[in-house]
């Protein structure tokens, strides 16, 4: 049985057999084009979408942890949605990567939370309870901050408060292990997967999405091989329940709730396009020639975002530059 929240805010229990979790579409009169939706995923996890990148929410007896904070334009609405899921304190924010549509709400949402440190520490440090902790790979902090005297791209209140350099950062909260797993040079140089082990839900950030081609930002250290490695890491972690379906659920950076098979088809697509571009590079084709060859024709109707990162052109460009950096 699962709980879900409907328009009216009422909590409804939905039978699971054969059913897909029902809905919550919350109306926001001021921004009707940006309705938030809240979907139960599995275990302690929920997914909020409609405020930029997807936001994962873990609730439990100890409090609330979230993964990413959206683009910041709907932080009040996001907090209101979280409050409908739990009235416990927001203690942790984990950022999957730097992009503003995933970290834009850091500053405002962090302020609504609290850091609860252990034993005598809280009592001795007056500001230790000021806002939730923000966990991310060190490169996220590097991208958001700047050396003293230089204007940083993001305000200090939005920066990660706790970073790690390699491998993974472990956390145990709400009776489950949470692994924040660094994926080098994937969509950017600061991507992490966040795996909630008891709930069996993995939050992928922008290394996996169902709405467009991969958002590989070469300027920010992203590569196609790192993206493939990250997708393969998801496949290693995920375990389907029955015949490649269910089991571990994956929350993508953008789009719908997925399982291993959905990631598999996406991984295959990225590898196949990489193979084609690699062959073209070997033939000495220029970037323009590669773009004109329609190497993504079989996937464009599904994944071409038409503009910016996520478009077929930008994807081909990122793959080409990843494979032949000297030919930018």
């Amino acid at each position: 049985m699962r709980m879900t929240i409907l328009n009216c805010g009422a909590i409804v229990v939905v039978g699971m057999l054969g059913a897909i979790p029902v809905v919550c579409a919350r109306q926001n009169p001021g921004r009707v084009h940006q309705d938030l939706s809240v979907l139960p995923v599995q275990g302690n996890l929920y997914m909020i979408s409609g405020a930029g990148g997807n936001i994962a929410v873990q609730v439990g007896s100890m409090g609330v942890a979230i993964v990413d904070t959206g683009n910041g334009t709907m932080s009040d609405e996001v907090m209101a949605a979280i409050r409908k899921l739990s009235d416990k304190p927001l203690q942790y924010i984990i950022n999957t990567h730097y992009d503003p549509d995933h970290t834009g709400g850091n500053e405002s949402i962090r302020k609504a939370g609290v850091t609860i440190t252990g034993a005598n520490v809280t009592g001795n440090i007056s500001d230790a309870r000021d806002g939730a902790q923000v966990i991310a790979h060190d490169n996220v902090l590097n991208r958001m901050s700047a050396p003293t005297g230089i204007q940083p791209p993001e305000p200090a209140g939005a920066w990660p408060t706790q970073t790690f350099l390699k491998g993974k950062k472990d956390l145990y909260f709400n009776d489950e292990a949470i692994e924040t797993i660094y994926q080098p040079a994937a969509a950017t140089d600061g991507d992490s997967l966040v795996f909630f082990r008891h709930s069996d839900v993995l939050v992928a950030g922008d290394v996996f999405l169902t709405t467009s081609y991969p958002l590989i930002d070469v300027e920010k250290g992203g590569t196609v091989q790192g993206t493939i490695n990250a997708l393969n890491r998801i496949l290693e972690i995920a375990v389907p329940k029955h015949e490649e379906e269910g089991g571990t659920y994956i929350i993508p950076g953008h789009g719908r709730i997925c399982d291993e098979f959905d990631v598999l088809e996406y991984r295959d697509m990225v590898v196949i396009v990489r193979d084609r571009v690699k062959a073209a590079v070997r033939k000495g084709m220029t970037l323009e020639q590669v773009k004109a060859a329609h190497l993504t024709r079989d996937y464009d109707a599904r994944y071409d975002a038409k503009s910016a990162l996520g478009s077929a052109d930008k994807f081909i460009e990122a793959v080409y530059q990843s494979l032949s950096p000297q030919k930018k």
């Binding site: 997914m47 169902t210 015949e243 098979f261 109707a301």
Partner: protein, 289 residues
């Protein structure tokens, strides 16, 4: 007369009220499809048994993108562990060698029909067709191989609408079906025969709806539904980023089907045009030139 009319109205209201009260008999609005059904594999047998030929896309309304996807597809991809236990999507499975068990689920108090359920023996697939007017899930809900189905009776025909279907294939020689596809089905029972009509609309890989029909026969023997345990293993030691595929223009089987049956390659490569009788005229005219 007026009094009589009012009385008649009052009686009708009373009957209606009685019909909705607990304990009343609520007949099913349609006919009962319950039973064990087996497919009569009397059409497209090669596709339903051994499988379709490679690069046989004839008569399918596919897009250029679907064609490129399928020409890139290498059957060795099915040896990848994560692909080994993939199953047919709801829009394809009824062409498989399946036994199909159908039963009704009714509200225990009112006996109203809540759902029509199916067990499809190939791949142990369970399917629910909701008959209680519930809405389909939001766009961001998970997709499954069976999708999310709602049904309604249109006379004696059960019409079913299915969304949230995972990516699959419209033919298991690599022709894809996207996760944006929706399926409309009609179930028609004629005694011990069941006709199943399926129309697939896929905005990604089809230019027109793909419509297929299947016939099932009622089985009187029990125990005709089998299990399908699947345990993937590493069959070929590959690098993690090795996904078998053919580069554009390098599919070695491109001409195999066309040459074997002496048909033009253009026809073998399919497209909506190849579905219609006029295409034969076009081919004959081309041959004359």
């Amino acid at each position: 007369m007026r009094t009589t009319g009012l009385l008649l109205v009052a009686m009708l209201i009373g009957v209606s009220g009685f019909a909705q009260s607990a304990g009343a008999i609520v007949p099913s609005p349609g006919i009962d499809l319950s039973g064990n059904w087996a497919p009569a594999v009397h059409e497209d047998q090669p596709e339903r048994g051994p499988g379709p030929e490679l690069v046989d896309f004839l008569g399918l309304p596919i897009t250029e993108g679907a064609r490129q996807f399928a020409l890139s597809w290498d059957a060795s991809r099915l040896t990848l562990p994560e692909h080994q236990c993939r199953v047919h999507v709801v829009s394809y499975i009824y062409r498989g060698p399946l036994n199909l068990r159908i039963w009704e689920e009714k509200d225990p108090q009112s006996q109203r029909l809540i759902a029509i359920r199916q067990y499809i023996s190939t791949y142990e697939q369970w399917r629910t067709i909701w008959m209680d007017d519930r809405p389909h899930p939001p766009e961001n809900a998970p997709h499954t191989f069976m999708g999310f189905s709602t049904g309604k009776w249109e006379g004696d025909i059960l019409t079913v609408y299915t969304t949230h279907i995972k990516q699959g294939w419209i033919r298991r020689n690599g022709l894809p079906q996207s996760d944006k596809a929706v399926l409309t089905e009609h179930y028609m029972r004629h005694g011990t025969y069941l006709t199943h009509v399926a129309a697939i609309n896929d905005p990604v890989y089809l230019t027109e709806p793909l419509i297929k029909t299947q016939t099932f026969r009622l089985q009187v023997q029990a125990g005709q539904n089998w299990l399908y345990p699947c345990d993937p293993v590493v069959e070929v030691d590959r690098a993690a980023d090795d996904v078998p595929n053919y580069l554009p223009g390098e599919n070695p089987f491109l001409h195999e089907f066309a040459d074997k049956y002496h048909i033009p390659l253009d026809a073998a490569l399919g497209g909506a045009e190849t579905m219609y009788p006029e295409y034969q005229t076009k081919l004959k005219n081309a041959a004359k030139k």
